[in-house]
C-alpha cells in the first residue's frame, strides 16, 4: 500500500534525512586503508544515537549491524565486520538509514579507499551517481516508475555496465520499506504513476559485468554473480503537494558536487 504524506510529514522527514546525510559526510573522513567495516559501523551507530536518531538497519529483519558496508563486488547489504579491512583501491558503499521522531531517512554513497583506484572502478562509481540523478530528473507528478528505471538503465548500459534488477528502491516514511517499489530498469510510461505525497528512494546498483546477483550464506550480503564490481548511490526524495520534488538526504557538500545530467 502506498502511504501518501502531507507536506508537514515530508518536512518532518527532513530531520532523519539530514542526519543520515551528515553521517555520510563524516564517514568520508574515516575511510582509509586499514580501517575495518566494523569501525564504520561503530562510528555510524554512536553518531546516530548521540544526535538523537536510531539506526534503522539494526535488527531489521535480523540484520545484525547499524549500517550496510558493501565493498567492490558486494552489491548491497554488506554486514560490517572486524575481519573486513579496507584496502588501497577498494570502492565501498556505505548505506545509512536513520530514524528520527518515527521517520526514516535512507541514503548511501560510494567512497574510494586511497588514491590508487582502477579506472573502471572510478568510471563505474561516477556512472552510478549519474544514473541516480538521471532517475531523479524523471520524477514529477504524472510520471511513471518506468520512466525512472528507463532513464537509469539506458544510461548505464550505454556506458557498458548493467543495472541490478533483484533489489529496488522503495517507498519510505514511518516504516523502512513501503510501496511503491522503484525498479532501476524498465520502459518509459509503464509502472506506478507518481503523485504528490509520495516519498521513496532511488538507489541504482550498477554492475561492471552481469546484472545478476547472489546472496551469501549469511542471508544478507548480495554479490555480483561474476565477481565484477558494483557501485550504488541512493537518495530519499519526496513529491510535495505543489509538485515540487525535494531530495531529503542531500547534504550541502553533496549538492556542491552534483553531477550534471
Amino acid at each position: 500500500m502506498i502511504v501518501l504524506k502531507t507536506d508537514a510529514e515530508i518536512d518532518a522527514m527532513r530531520a532523519a534525512g539530514a542526519l543520515s546525510a551528515e553521517i555520510l559526510d563524516k564517514v568520508e573522513d574515516l575511510i582509509k586503508p586499514g580501517i575495518t567495516t566494523l569501525d564504520i559501523d561503530v562510528f555510524v551507530h554512536e553518531y546516530t544515537i548521540r544526535n538523537g536518531g536510531i539506526p534503522a538497519p539494526l535488527n531489521y529483519r535480523g540484520f545484525p549491524k547499524s549500517v550496510c558496508t558493501s565493498i567492490n563486488e558486494v552489491v548491497c547489504h554488506g554486514i560490517p565486520s572486524s575481519k573486513v579491512k579496507l584496502k588501497e583501491g577498494d570502492i565501498i558503499n556505505v548505506d545509512v538509514t536513520s530514524i528520527i521522531d518515527g521517520y526514516f531517512g535512507d541514503t548511501s554513497r560510494m567512497y574510494f579507499v586511497g588514491s590508487n583506484i582502477l579506472p573502471v572502478a572510478r568510471k563505474l562509481t561516477e556512472v552510478a551517481r549519474s544514473c541516480l540523478f538521471r532517475g531523479i530528473k524523471q520524477v514529477k507528478p504524472g510520471a511513471r516508475v518506468g520512466d525512472i528505471g528507463h532513464a537509469i538503465q539506458s544510461y548505464a548500459e550505454k556506458q557498458g555496465f548493467s543495472v541490478v534488477r533483484e533489489f529496488v528502491g522503495h517507498g519510505i516514511g514511518r516504516t523502512f520499506h513501503e510501496d511503491p517499489q522503484i525498479a532501476h530498469y524498465g520502459q518509459p510510461g509503464k509502472g506506478t504513476k507518481l503523485v504528490e505525497g509520495m516519498v521513496f528512494t532511488i538507489e541504482p546498483m550498477v554492475n561492471q559485468g552481469h546484472w545478476k546477483t547472489k546472496v551469501l550464506k549469511d542471508g544478507w550480503t548480495a554479490i555480483t554473480i561474476d565477481g565484477g564490481l558494483s557501485a550504488q548511490w541512493e537518495h530519499t526524495l519526496a513529491i510535495k503537494s505543489t509538485g515540487e520534488v525535494v531530495i531529503l538526504t542531500e547534504s550541502a557538500k553533496e549538492i556542491s558536487t552534483r553531477p550534471v545530467v
Binding site: V42, G52, S108, H177, Q181, E203
Partner: protein, 504 residues
C-alpha cells in the same frame, strides 16, 4: 537500503536495598592520600528527617557508613552474620512453648552523640520498630505471634516468643539501628552508630562521627551532583539511556552486581500474555543480546530472571531463550497463529490479528523499542508501545518496568505472592505451589544459613513460566581515581564491604 524485489499483487530511588554493613572496629593500612573523597553517580538515598527506611542498612555506600544494621546477610559467605549484634542464638522451648532469641551486643559502639550503645537502647529500638517492620514485610502472609523484648543484661537483649514464629532471628537482617533524638546532625531527628554522620543533606556530605578513636583519619565524603565539574574519586555509572557512555562499557573493570533489572511484566489475567505458550514465545522474541550490544544498556548482563549470575540462587540450567525468529515462527505456526502472506500479521483462530500493547519506559524508548518492534514484526506479531501510565495497567499486555530488587536477599514475596498488596505493574501469580516456594525462601533467609536452593527453584519457575521477562541486569561500573587502591575483583564479586575497603 534496497528492498528485495517481489512481484506485488496488490513494522529514586527511595531507598537502595543492599545487604552488608560497613562497620569499622579496626583498620587496615589506609591507601588514602586525601582528606576528602568525592563520589559521583551513586543513587542518592533519601534521608528522611524522622527515621531511616528499613532498607537503609543495606546500602553499602551511604547507609552502612551512617546507620549499620544489627545483622546482615553476607552473600559472599552465604550466611547471616552479626554486625552491631555480635552473636545471635535461638533457644527452642519444649512442649511448643515458643522460642527465645538471644542477641549479644558488641562492646565499644557509640551513637553519633558519643553516648555508648546499651542493650536497653537496642531493646527499645526493636520494641518500636518490629511491629511496623512485620506489618510492612509480611502483610497478610505470615501470622506474627506476640513477643516480648527485654534487655536482661548490659550485653544481652532477648526476644521472647510465646509461640514459635514462622521465621528465624535473622529476620532483622539489614534493618538500620537508630534512635529518635530532638536534634540530630543536618536536621535529622534520629541518630545512628555509624562511623559517619551527615554534615549536610543537599549536597550530601558525610563526615566522621567522631565517636570512635581511630588509628587512621577517615576522609570526608562528598556526593556532588553529576552536573558539577568536580573530578570524582569514585565514579559510579549504571546503565544509562541512549547516548551516554556508549564506548566505555567495554573498558569497565570494576563491575558491581546492582539490584536493578529491566523487565517486561506480563498481564497474566487477560489478553494475549495470559496464554503461557504465547508468553514464552514472546520472551524468546526479546532481542536481549542485540539490545545490550547496541549500547543502549551498557554494563548490562543478559539474564532471563531477575537474579544476578553471581548470586547463589541463580539456576544455571535455566535457559536464556536466545532470539531465533525461525524457531519462534515455527512455534507460532504450531500454536495456530498463522500468516496469510509472508509479511502479514499473524491471525488467531478467530481471524483477529495478533497485536500486543506494551507500556513503555524511559529506559527502552528509542532504540530498544525499535529493536523489539523489529523482532516481533519479523515473525508477524504487531506491537504497539504506549507511554507509561497512558492506559490502565489491566488493559495492556505487558509493561516495561525497572525492577529494583532487595539484593542480595532477592526476596520476591511482597512482589509476587498472591496475598501481598497490589504492586503497580506486576500481576500476581495465583499458583499455590509457587506461593509456597516464595514463603519457604523468605523464611529460609531468616536463618543463619539460608538455603538458596529455594531461590533456585523460584528461578526455575520464573524462567519456565515467564511471569515477567527480564531484558537485562543493570550492573554498575565503578571506577576509582589513583588515590584509591581498590581490588576490582571484590567489586565484581559484590563483596559486601567493598566500599569500606576503599576508605580503610
Amino acid at each position: 537500503m534496497p528492498e528485495s524485489f517481489t512481484a506485488r499483487t496488490g513494522r529514586k530511588f527511595p531507598g537502595i536495598l543492599f545487604s552488608g554493613v560497613v562497620f569499622a572496629l579496626s583498620f587496615a593500612q589506609s591507601s588514602l592520600a586525601k582528606d576528602e573523597l568525592s563520589i559521583v553517580g551513586w543513587p542518592f538515598v533519601s534521608l528522611s528527617n524522622d527515621r531511616p527506611s528499613f532498607d537503609f542498612g543495606n546500602d553499602p555506600v551511604i547507609g552502612r557508613q551512617l546507620c549499620p544494621p544489627l545483622t546482615r546477610l553476607n552473600l559472599s559467605k552465604k550466611i547471616s552474620e552479626g554486625i552491631v549484634i555480635r552473636r545471635v542464638a535461638e533457644e527452642v522451648r519444649g512442649n511448643n512453648k515458643g522460642v527465645l532469641w538471644r542477641l549479644e551486643v558488641r562492646n565499644g559502639i557509640f551513637w553519633w552523640s558519643g553516648k555508648a550503645l546499651t542493650s536497653k537502647d537496642i531493646a527499645d529500638f526493636l520494641t518500636a520498630i518490629l511491629p511496623d517492620f512485620f506489618a510492612e514485610s509480611y502483610r497478610g502472609i505470615f501470622q506474627i505471634p506476640d513477643f516480648q523484648i527485654s534487655a536482661t543484661d548490659p550485653q544481652l537483649v532477648t526476644i521472647d516468643w510465646q509461640e514459635t514464629p514462622p521465621f528465624g532471628p535473622f529476620v532483622i537482617n539489614g534493618i538500620p539501628l537508630f534512635r529518635p533524638v530532638d536534634s540530630g546532625p543536618a536536621g535529622l531527628k534520629y541518630e545512628c552508630v555509624g562511623n559517619y554522620k551527615p554534615e549536610s543533606l543537599d549536597p550530601l556530605v558525610l563526615v566522621p562521627s567522631g565517636s570512635y578513636k581511630l588509628t587512621k583519619k577517615l576522609p570526608k565524603l562528598r556526593f556532588p551532583a553529576e552536573t558539577s565539574k568536580v573530578s570524582a574519586d569514585v565514579s559510579v555509572t549504571f546503565s544509562n539511556p541512549p547516548g551516554a557512555e556508549l564506548t566505555n562499557a567495554k573498558s569497565c573493570t570494576g563491575v558491581w552486581p546492582s539490584p536493578f533489572f529491566s523487565v517486561i511484566a506480563w498481564n497474566l489475567s487477560s489478553g494475549r500474555a495470559s496464554d503461557i505458550g504465547l508468553r514464552k514465545l514472546m520472551t524468546g522474541l526479546i532481542p536481549r543480546k542485540e539490545i545490550v550490544a547496541s549500547g543502549v544498556l551498557p554494563y548490562s548482563d543478559i539474564v532471563s530472571v531477575p537474579i544476578p549470575r553471581s548470586h547463589p540462587g541463580f539456576e544455571r540450567s535455566a535457559t536464556d531463550m536466545p532470539f531465533d525468529a525461525t524457531k519462534v515462527s515455527a512455534a507460532l505456526d504450531h500454536l495456530g497463529f498463522r500468516r496469510k502472506t509472508a509479511n502479514s500479521t499473524r491471525l488467531d483462530s478467530s481471524g483477529n490479528p495478533i497485536r500486543l500493547t506494551l507500556m513503555s519506559s524511559k529506559e527502552i524508548e528509542g532504540l530498544a523499542e525499535k529493536l523489539i518492534l523489529d523482532s516481533f514484526s519479523s515473525v508477524g506479531l504487531e506491537v504497539d508501545f504506549v507511554e507509561a501510565k497512558a492506559k490502565p495497567a489491566g488493559t495492556v499486555d505487558g509493561s516495561f518496568l525497572s525492577l529494583q530488587t532487595d539484593y542480595p536477599k532477592l526476596d520476591f514475596l511482597m512482589l509476587l505472592h498472591p496475598k501481598s498488596p497490589p504492586t503497580a505493574g506486576f500481576w500476581k501469580v495465583n499458583d499455590e505451589a509457587f506461593a509456597k516456594l516464595l514463603e519457604q525462601y523468605t523464611i529460609s533467609l531468616t536463618s543463619e544459613k539460608p538455603d538458596f536452593g529455594h531461590l533456585a527453584r523460584i528461578h526455575s519457575y520464573l524462567a519456565e513460566n515467564q511471569v515477567f521477562s527480564v531484558l537485562a541486569h543493570h550492573r554498575a561500573c565503578i571506577k576509582t581515581s589513583n588515590v584509591l587502591r581498590v581490588k576490582t575483583a571484590s567489586i565484581a564479586s559484590g563483596e559486601p564491604d567493598w566500599f569500606r575497603d576503599l576508605l580503610f
